[in-house]
């Protein structure tokens, strides 16, 4: 603006990094801090936990929060709730990440292929997706648990299988819109390989859809995983898992509500934090929305 500014001199506008752009939004900043705290707590659970998650003291059974130096009380077996929560968070987050990464990755790839090789692959891939969509996740979980036995592996597999068709549909829709744009033709006119075209030109322009759905799905997957654990297909006692902990507490809801309520509140916070962060990331990753 000032007269001293020479128009011919390039004034490189400071290009804020993605982190500082995230921190400018209060909601995004809070969710980012929450996610960092949650993930940190899960990763460093062995260091942070005051006791061992399997240490039980029946004298403390159902101790209410605040008693005997137990900040959040103890569960029916007299195990420290804080310790169980930290370890449970670990298991739940890992399950969520694994399922979204595996299922989402495969689903996104299928979506790209269906949109890119529309003539040959769209029909077959989408019919496959339709078939997968027609199985409820719980049913898939039951079948997989029957084959591989109940456990975390089965839950992750079931959740991945349930995520593939949803991600494939969303990515296909978004990729089809991008495929119609001229820059795809321009890229093709340079003679690049299909793989490069998909990776450099198609995929990045579908990222926002993928991000939004992945974060949304992350919350759903944690809930679904909890449901499977609740049905006895997932984490087996005494392994702590947020959903399993909530279902254990169900029996004591009237005498010791904290056993069920506390894990549910943690699930709620996890899901909310990831959803808000996902939205914020989408905006921050889109160069068109950069100010």
């Amino acid at each position: 603006m000032s007269a001293a500014t020479d128009a011919s001199e390039p004034i490189a506008p400071p290009r804020p990094g993605i982190l500082s752009r995230l921190m400018r939004e209060p909601g995004a900043a809070i969710s980012l801090i929450l996610v960092v705290l949650l993930v940190g707590a899960a990763v460093f659970a062995p260091l942070l936990a005051p006791t061992d998650p399997y240490d039980n003291d029946l004298a403390l059974s159902m101790a209410p929060p605040g008693s005997d130096g137990l900040l959040l009380g103890a569960d029916a077996q007299g195990r420290d709730m804080i310790t169980r929560l930290l370890y449970g968070l670990r298991v739940s987050l890992m399950m969520g990440f694994a399922a979204v990464a595996i299922g989402g990755g495969i689903g996104a790839l299928l979506g790209f292929l269906a949109a890119f090789y529309r003539r040959w692959l769209d029909g077959p891939i989408m019919r496959l997706v339709d078939i997968m969509l027609s199985f409820p996740a719980i049913l898939v979980g039951l079948a997989i648990a029957a084959i591989f036995g109940p456990g975390i592996f089965s839950v992750v597999l079931a959740l991945s299988v349930a995520t593939v068709p949803l991600m494939a549909r969303i990515v296909r829709g978004s990729a089809m819109v991008v495929m119609r744009l001229d820059f795809i033709e321009a890229a093709r006119a340079t003679g690049m390989s299909d793989a490069r075209l998909i990776w450099r030109h198609l995929a990045p322009n579908c990222l926002s859809a993928i991000f939004v759905f992945a974060t949304l799905r992350f919350g759903q997957v944690i809930l679904l995983g909890s449901a499977l654990s609740f049905l006895g297909l997932g984490a087996q006692p005494p392994v702590p898992e947020l959903g399993a902990m909530a279902s254990e507490g169900r029996n004591f809801l009237f005498f010791a509500p904290h056993i069920a309520v506390v894990p549910c509140v943690v699930i709620f916070i996890v899901v909310l934090a990831f959803n808000v962060l996902g939205d914020a990331l989408r905006d921050a990753l889109d160069p068109r929305l950069r100010v």
Partner: protein, 353 residues
Amino acid sequence: MSDTLLEVTGLAKHYPVREGLILARQVGVVRAVDGVSFTVNRGETLALVGESGCGKSTTARLVLRLIEPSAGTINFEGVNVTRSAGAAQRAMRRRMQIVFQDPYASLNPRLTVADTIAEPMIVHGIGDTASRRKRVEELLGLVGLRPFHAQRYPHEFSGGQRQRIGIARALSVQPDLVVCDEPVSALDVSIQAQVVNLLKDLQRRFGLAYLFIAHDLAVVKHVADRVAVMYLGQIVETARKGDLFTTPRHPYTRALLAAIPHPDPQRRGQVKPLGGDVPSPMNPPPGCRFHTRCPFAQERCRIEAPALRRMADGHEAACHFAETLPPAGLDFSGGLSEIAAKRLALYARALAA
């Protein structure tokens, strides 16, 4: 004249039209491009004009093999590239590039300008990182942008600037032929002048040949060496620019030229606009495709399809009665509207500056 760079013979693209949900059967064919032949010489501009839907853009994409032709051959420097694949295809892609109509859709919004311009070089293994960066700066300079623009994203530029980026991308691999698919139709008039002049400049410097798709005759008059007029998927007349504008031989060309608004009250009543609509390319009329709208149509036109015939040196027209048409009685050479004339003057001034 000069040596032939691109030779297209009998090029066609037919799209099947299917009906039915599960057992789709073919109910017809859209003849988007139906037997088009032309040549482009090294360093020359061939303009392809016609109203929308006549197959201009499809022809452009067929030449680049972005769409696979249904029939016909494409020879590039005497080599048949109609069905080339693999390495031959890549080599061909390096020699032919494209500039698009819509500068907003033709750049990947996720790539910086530097990445966009450098990518064709990476794909063809030209240079290393440092030399490519230098080349990007050089190209930015060539198209009238500044080196610091390299690190910006497309959304930070105006339409005209984006079009320049698209041109820089096309030139990065030093092609011989650039297909310009209505490169200025989406731009403001003043920006059109700049971009058209830039294209002419670059042509002079690098000996580029252009296949220039346009529907704007003012632009065509400014850039073209030769003009091919398309109607309903076929070429009806080709001629050197001067010949076409002074002595159009095909009734459709005449109608196109006459349709240019003209600030001359004397002309009122002399110009009869074409009646009717363009027939569907799914069901083109028999005989001459233009006979449904042609003021000179006779019985023969309804039966026999006219072939392109030589009228004069370098002038061909597909009309049975091209020689015997009554004189148009119009001076087409000056037949540009006041606005178009002003624009031409603007181009010329900008070029001189």
